[in-house]
């Protein structure tokens, strides 16, 4: 068997969108290839323009979306051959998602602890972890700064955005996967907790789990990632060692991105966000953009 945990090979995805008359084809992902080595667990950051296909790429790796062309192989299994529920279950055991919006990933009618117990039970048999599920769940929750006591009996909407996202991360950890695909996992939590969570990612990586970390936060990407992919218009425009790419970006787009980061200090603060005047109320004005 190969040493690749994940092999993304010339993958593209084309959507069509719009009304009957204005139908548009959109190339969300355009010939993307990259690999993750089984022997070297890593944190792979994916950054890039909003709407450039990062989420679509994640969804294909999670087998929630099929590529239009190209091939994805996870741990020796070609995702195109997955047909049965059992296959899907096997895959989910290996790759766990953490989504952009935690309110999406939970059924609002189900209590959170039930979720966690179900996840625990579902993956327990396969991994042969020692039973004591309550302790395991409490442990996973503690790793993300919560406790079972706090979470039990609550429904998803009874937690704040950041708290719910932490539950989603705890749930992903419970399954003991080989790869976690985290799509903007920390966009809803405060800076301090953000650090705790990315530090947790590092611990998780050292346990042998690789993480694909999609983010708009270049500072944490720099802080935590081993490798980075920069995506624009569906294609990888630059990749390599995360620290090198972010410190000395080569591609003009990457340079622009890095220079646009709003630093939390005050030098030139006001000048950095140019005020865009919107014209007088009630008048439509021409589009100034090229």
């Amino acid at each position: 068997m190969s040493d690749l945990l994940l092999d993304v090979c010339h993958v593209s995805k084309i959507f069509s969108r719009g009304g009957l008359l204005s139908r548009q084809r959109i190339t969300a992902v355009d010939d993307v290839s990259f690999q993750i080595d089984k022997r070297r667990p890593e944190i792979l950051a994916v950054i890039g323009e909003s709407g450039s296909g990062k989420t679509t790429l994640c969804r294909m790796i999670l087998n929630l979306e099929l590529p239009t062309t190209g091939r994805l192989v996870f741990d020796g299994v070609d995702l195109a051959t997955i047909r049965t529920a059992a296959d899907r279950m096997m895959l989910r055991q290996g790759v766990q998602p953490i989504f952009q919006n935690p309110f999406d990933s939970f059924n609002p009618m189900k209590r959170l602890e039930r979720y966690l117990f179900l996840t625990q039970r579902r993956f327990l048999a396969a991994t042969q972890q020692p039973a004591s599920s309550k302790a395991a769940i409490d442990d996973a929750l503690h790793q993300v700064g919560l406790s079972l006591k706090e979470v039990s009996h609550r429904y998803p909407h009874e937690l704040s955005g950041g708290q719910l996202q932490r539950v989603a991360i705890a749930r992903a950890l419970l399954a003991r996967p080989k790869l976690i695909v985290a799509d903007e996992p920390v966009s809803m939590v405060d800076a301090s907790l953000r650090l705790s969570i990315v530090n947790l990612f590092r611990t998780v990586r050292d346990l042998g789990i690789s993480i694909i970390y999609v983010t708009h936060d270049l500072a944490t990407a720099y802080y935590i990632s081993d490798r980075i992919l920069v995506i624009r218009n569906g294609s990888i425009v630059e990749s390599g060692d995360a620290k090198a790419v972010l410190k000395y970006p080569q591609h003009p787009y990457c340079r622009q991105l890095r220079d646009a980061v709003l630093l939390p200090d005050l030098a030139n603060a006001a000048a950095d966000v140019p005020i865009s005047m919107t014209g007088v109320k009630g008048t439509g004005e021409p589009d100034r953009r090229p």
């Binding site: 909003s50 950041g162 270049l218 603060a269």
Partner: protein
């Protein structure tokens, strides 16, 4: 009955756009005979001046969204406002949108006040194309012909770096950041007096984020609008907020001009928040705040930060510090500063 209370910020000739006085909002549940009360907002007072961007930051779960929901009048059980008043420049005398008659609420929404909710990318109706959403909500408040409205909409979307083709898309056909910009567009196209925004740029790359913030500042400049802006991104606060409030466990613990907060943070939580920010090129290991976040159903006695505070003193676990001014415009709730003089 409310208007005469004294705001804690030096009052000016013009009344503030928004004033919140001693607001207390709890989530009250009674499950299986066990009463639970989550004190999500517990005695917060703040003022948003005319033409000002007031930023709020604070721990995840500290009550920021709860506060914004109260201001926007989005109150659903088990959320209950148990005390305090909220007054607007364009709606006063009721003590809050939740106490105003429906006709007043309808008058004020969109035109005077708009609310960009947290996770706003998910509030769009999944069954309707974006154009219908804009026509339903915004068009009635903008006036003019449909063509004029359409033109105005295109220009507005372009400012947010969105192609006009998104108007014929369903929400699920757009990326998270595109949906987020669409809701920002919806909340700003009528150019309201007060924009309440809860994490409006979290799903955006830094380049697009800049344009969105620039647009919001543009409206603020032009219309003299005020913005109440919640975000975890301290970089955003540094660049756009005029004043900054820091929340911890249902309390406002510090408030000052943005420059002052960054240069001279006083509250130990604020200090931690500012020092915990990683930067590109800085390889020093950093860690989040130790200890468990407070449980708001059973908050720590005294200063709610004391179990995690490096400066905690004996008094801190017994008494709650009041929010007092240490310098003009700089308020902090901490026994390490000036508590004997003010209280």
């Amino acid at each position: 009955m409310h208007a005469q209370a004294v705001p804690d910020v030096p009052s000016e000739a013009v009344p503030p756009m928004l004033s919140v006085r001693d607001l207390r909002t709890y989530y009250r549940a009674n499950r299986l005979g066990i009463k639970r009360e989550v004190k999500a907002v517990d005695g917060i007072s703040l003022t948003v001046r005319r033409g000002e961007i007031y930023g709020l930051a604070g721990e995840s779960g500290s009550g920021k969204s709860t506060l914004l929901n109260c201001v926007a009048g989005a109150i659903r059980p088990p959320m209950e406002i148990v005390g305090g008043d909220i007054d607007f420049a364009f709606l006063s005398g009721y003590g809050g949108l939740h106490r105003a008659p429906p006709a007043e609420v309808a008058r004020v929404r969109w035109r005077h006040l708009s609310y960009i909710m947290q996770g706003s990318m998910n509030v769009l109706n999944p069954l309707r194309r974006l154009r219908s959403v804009f026509v339903d909500f915004a068009y009635p408040h903008v006036g003019g012909t449909r063509q004029q409205f359409e033109r105005q909409l295109h220009a507005h979307l372009a400012r947010l770096n969105l192609d006009r083709s998104v108007l014929s898309a369903y929400p699920h056909e757009l990326s998270g950041g595109m949906r987020q910009r669409a809701t920002v567009a919806l909340a700003t196209v009528c150019r309201p007096d007060l924009i309440i925004a809860d994490e409006p740029t979290t799903a955006l790359d830094v380049l697009v984020q800049k344009e969105v913030l620039g647009m919001i500042r543009g409206i603020q400049r032009e219309m003299g609008s005020s913005v109440l802006l919640v975000t975890h991104d301290m970089g955003v606060h540094a660049h756009v907020s005029d004043r900054l409030g820091i929340m911890y466990a249902g309390h406002l613990v510090e408030e000052a001009g943005t420059a002052e907060i960054f240069r001279n943070p006083l509250h130990p939580y604020t200090k931690h928040l500012i020092s915990s920010l990683p930067r590109i090129g800085d390889d020093a290991p950093r860690c989040g705040l130790g200890g468990a976040p407070p449980n708001l159903a059973d908050p720590p006695l005294g200063c709610r930060f004391h179990p995690r505070c490096p400066l905690a003193m004996k008094v801190c676990s017994g008494e709650a510090p009041a929010m007092l001014e240490t310098a003009p415009g700089h308020r902090v709730a901490c026994f390490a500063y000036n508590q004997s003089g003010g209280a």
